[in-house]
């Protein structure tokens, strides 16, 4: 299990230093997926516990199983663009994860991968397009809107915050940080909601008072994205410092 998630954070290509917008490349995408896998392993029981209250108690196990498979598949791909990595993650998710999480997250990753096309690296603008494509895919499959007590309650505000931050001249780092914050806030805001989608909606008003597991795993992914982007930045910085220090 540990081997499947032990993704080296190193290996990010040193990017051009003077660019205002920072970029994400395949190595950074790999490290993001790795951080998600590690965090899902740590939060597996918590997610299952949330799901036991209003769902069918399999969300933690499903997400963990899915990401373990994703890491194995992605780890075996030597040369791949970010888009190819995400599409592989999506297909792996659909084929290995049961319940609602498989098709929903699978679609999210597939759509994000499609949106990135063949780009070897991408900036925050293209990442915004990818997030938007993910949300559209999830809503097409799940028909959920904000307030239905689903993963959309974390995904949609995260996307909004990301976009707002970019409009205000923010960087990739501040935008992912804003997205992480908005996703967590959206996640917490699911607690008082009555579920209108998914198994939790069968409970009617009894779903009130519980945090949605899907919104929780989505918030986890945005936290991982920020972590991967920040780690990537510090890696690049360290790499640059080493180069200067060694005089090469």
């Amino acid at each position: 299990m540990a081997a499947a998630v032990a993704v080296p954070l190193a290996g990010c290509l040193p990017g051009p230093r003077r660019k205002a917008a920072r970029i994400v490349d395949a190595a950074c995408v790999r490290s993001w997926l790795g951080v998600v896998a590690t965090r899902l392993e740590a939060e597996r029981d918590f997610l299952t516990q949330l799901d036991a209250a209003i769902g069918d108690a399999d969300h933690g196990v499903n997400m963990h199983r899915g990401f373990t498979a994703v890491m194995a598949r992605v780890g075996a791909m030597e040369e791949a663009t970010p888009g190819q990595l995400l599409k592989t993650a999506g297909r792996t998710f659909v084929s290995t994860v049961g319940g609602a999480a498989g098709p929903l997250y699978g679609t999210a990753f597939l759509q994000a991968g499609e949106a990135l096309g063949d780009a070897a690296s991408f900036g925050p603008r293209l990442l915004l397009d990818a997030l938007r494509a993910s949300l559209e895919g999830v809503q097409r499959v799940g028909a959920a809107a904000v307030g239905d007590k689903t993963m959309v309650d974390a995904l949609s505000p995260a996307l909004g915050a990301f976009e707002l931050e970019l409009r205000m001249g923010g960087s990739l780092e501040t935008a992912t940080s804003g997205a992480r914050e908005a996703a967590a806030e959206g996640m917490r805001a699911t607690v008082p909601l009555q579920a209108r989608k998914g198994r939790a909606s069968y409970l009617g008003p009894r779903s009130v008072g519980h945090q949605d597991p899907g919104a929780t795993s989505t918030a986890l992914m945005f936290a991982a994205l920020e972590q991967a982007v920040v780690a990537d930045r510090s890696q690049r910085f360290a790499a640059g410092a080493r180069r200067r220090g060694s005089g090469t």
């Binding site: 299952t48 036991a52 769902g55 069918d56 108690a57 399999d58 196990v61 049961g98 319940g99 609602a100 999480a101 498989g102 098709p103 929903l104 809503q139 097409r140 499959v141 799940g142 028909a143 209108r196 989608k197 998914g198 198994r199 909606s201 069968y202 409970l203 009617g204 008003p205 009894r206 009130v208 008072g209 519980h210």
Partner: protein, 258 residues
Amino acid sequence: MIQSVGRAARILKALGSESARLGVTELAERLGLAKATVYGLLRTLEAHQLVEQDLETGKYRLGPALLQLGNAFLDNNELRARSLLWAETLAGRAREAVHVGVLYGPNVLLVHHVFRPDNSLQILQVGASIPWHACALGKAMVAYLDADAQAELLAGPLPRLTGRTQTGRDALEAELAVVVARGVAVEDQEAIVGEAGIAAALFDNRGAVVGAIGLAGPVERLLRDGPSPEIEAAVKEAARGLSRELGAGRPALPGAGA
């Protein structure tokens, strides 16, 4: 209508609608009643163990007598009692979870649930309420309702629960005709993404539909290439056997020859 009984019922429903406990003040505000009135009602309900007070916070929650009443409701449900054996057998044969439901307004109320026999962690869904048009049990039942009742349900709100929920009246009406011709109703991720169902209606001695029994499970197992003939046959057989036990005579049983 007896006012105080109505108020007591509203208190129980308010306490049942949230996982949080409620204090006298909160309840009084929510129901628009005087605190003294609410307090009196709560004390009476407490004496009957219908509510109980949390000693630490002083707040109220539903009481243990309600579990007994709920179980009594299920036990008095002849359908549930008689379905136990058939549901167990069907679950064993199909290796999937079995649901038994009745129509309750526009929703299917699950009165019995047998876990998928694979020792995995599962949550009991008895008491869950699912819009009829989004599940196999509901479509199986509504297909055999008389034209008026069917028209009323088709005209009612048909909420979209997933991207695949059928919400068009005409499409649903056509699907109900297929259910009658085929003898089973099939649901493909129309209530929950990733989940499917196959169900058949249950009839009483007058040939009236009284419920439905069916399989519920992951779509990739239940509908890999559409429902397998064996699975479909197993559902129909369970429904026929259970209907006969409920008194449905062979000739009166719609779709029995299918």
